[in-house]
């Protein structure tokens, strides 16, 4: 499973965040200025890296990168 630093690296390498020093993993993606389509790409990249599949329920729960980490932990 992916660590928080690995998840942060996925966000950083996506190019969706102009200044990673201002990225807050506890805040929603929307509040980090990541739109809904880019969130889909990020979550797909996480699925591919972690070799997991997020269900619609998982997707509904996920608002922030911390949420992604929590959902992944729940899949251990």
């Amino acid at each position: 499973m992916l660590s928080m630093s690995q998840l942060t690296e996925i966000v950083a390498s996506s190019g969706f965040v102009a200044d990673m020093s201002k990225f807050d993993s506890a805040q929603s993606f929307k509040d980090n200025d990541i739109d809904s389509l880019d969130v889909m790409t990020l979550l797909l990249q996480v699925e591919e890296a972690a070799k997991v599949k997020f269900s619609d329920e998982d997707f509904d729960r996920i608002r922030s990168l911390n949420d992604v980490h929590a959902v992944l932990e729940g899949k251990r």
């Binding site: 739109d35 389509l37 797909l44 699925e47």
Partner: protein, 309 residues
């Protein structure tokens, strides 16, 4: 040898804007998001008095005029649609009647969405070859304005109405094939019309498309003995600008080889690829193309399209 002789299209004059202030406010989105992510600034919308067979008929008349052939010369008429005028009869029969095509002309529909044009090319050429036909027309006409819920943010800013007609003949300008097809029926609910309204699970459609289409195209190129650089244009179904950009990025091909054509008309379902192809085949410099459609099913289909017979 059968192949594509020419293509014509009918795009209704009606337009609905995606960037007027009321639309942006209603969906709580910014113009920048519409321009750079959805990619559809306005959607083509048919007149309320027009139905699917009317759009199809107009495209059919235009392709005959463009090719200089008479309607009576058509031996097969195939319509790709999932939004017919009525559940039955099939739209092809209605168009056949309105155009007064000869009794010996075969006419049938294909029920597919955004992969339908590529599937249709394979079906009509195989059907014509096995029956010794020399002229057939493949029509796409799937006006989603009939089923889109205007209040649904997932779909109401995407789809536009259009029809195209492709003349398949034994005097082709472009040969077609090889083909590649695929289906993920376990995700068929991800794009579905229930009680007359379209529902889309955008994440499922996006994920399957982003992960399935690029390897399918690369596999097709291998079968065709082509490398990526030898392809002049990749004509991808215009689901949204975002999905086209995503596939292009995963394929690793430059933007100039992947044209966009949805800005002023929207995602026209099975018509999006032939609309791009209509302008591409008139360019002398274009000799090799890859067509790839994906959507309802969920299904996908890709093929190579090469100048010459």
């Amino acid at each position: 040898m059968l192949g594509i002789q020419t293509i014509a299209s009918y795009v209704p004059n009606g337009r609905q804007s995606n960037i007027d202030s009321s639309t942006l406010a209603a969906f709580d989105i910014k113009e920048d998001f519409v321009r750079n992510k959805i990619g559809v600034l306005s959607r083509a919308v048919k007149d309320s008095g027009e139905d699917t067979s009317d759009l199809a008929l107009k495209a059919l008349r235009k392709v005959c005029e463009k090719a200089g052939i008479e309607l009576r010369e058509i031996q097969a008429l195939v319509v790709v649609t999932q939004n017919p005028d009525n559940n039955l009869p099939h739209v092809a029969a209605q168009v056949h009647g309105k155009a007064e095509l000869p009794d010996h002309c075969a006419a049938f529909d294909i029920s597919l969405g955004c992969s339908g044009y590529v599937y249709g090319l394979s079906i009509i050429t195989s059907f014509m070859a096995s029956n010794g036909f020399e002229r057939g027309v493949l029509i796409t006409a799937d006006p989603y304005s009939k089923i889109v819920d205007r209040a649904d943010k997932n779909t109401s800013l995407l789809f536009g109405d259009a029809a195209t007609a492709t003349l398949i003949s034994n005097r082709p300008i472009f040969a077609i094939g090889p083909f590649s097809f695929g289906t993920k029926g376990s995700l068929s609910d991800a794009l579905i019309c229930r009680d007359g309204k379209l529902h889309m699970n955008g994440r499922e459609v996006f994920n399957l498309t982003a992960t399935g289409v690029p390897p399918d195209i690369l596999n097709l190129l291998q079968v065709a003995g082509l490398n990526k650089d030898e392809v002049d244009l990749y004509l991808l179904h215009q689901g949204s600008k975002y999905i086209v950009d995503t596939i292009r990025g995963r394929l690793g091909v430059p933007a100039e080889k992947v044209p966009l054509g949805l800005e002023e008309v929207g995602n026209t379902v099975s018509s999006s690829i032939p609309l791009l192809l209509e302008s591409a085949i008139s360019r002398d410099s274009i000799t090799t193309m890859v067509l790839s459609g994906f959507g309802v099913g969920l299904s996908w289909a890709s093929c190579v399209c090469k100048k010459g017979s």
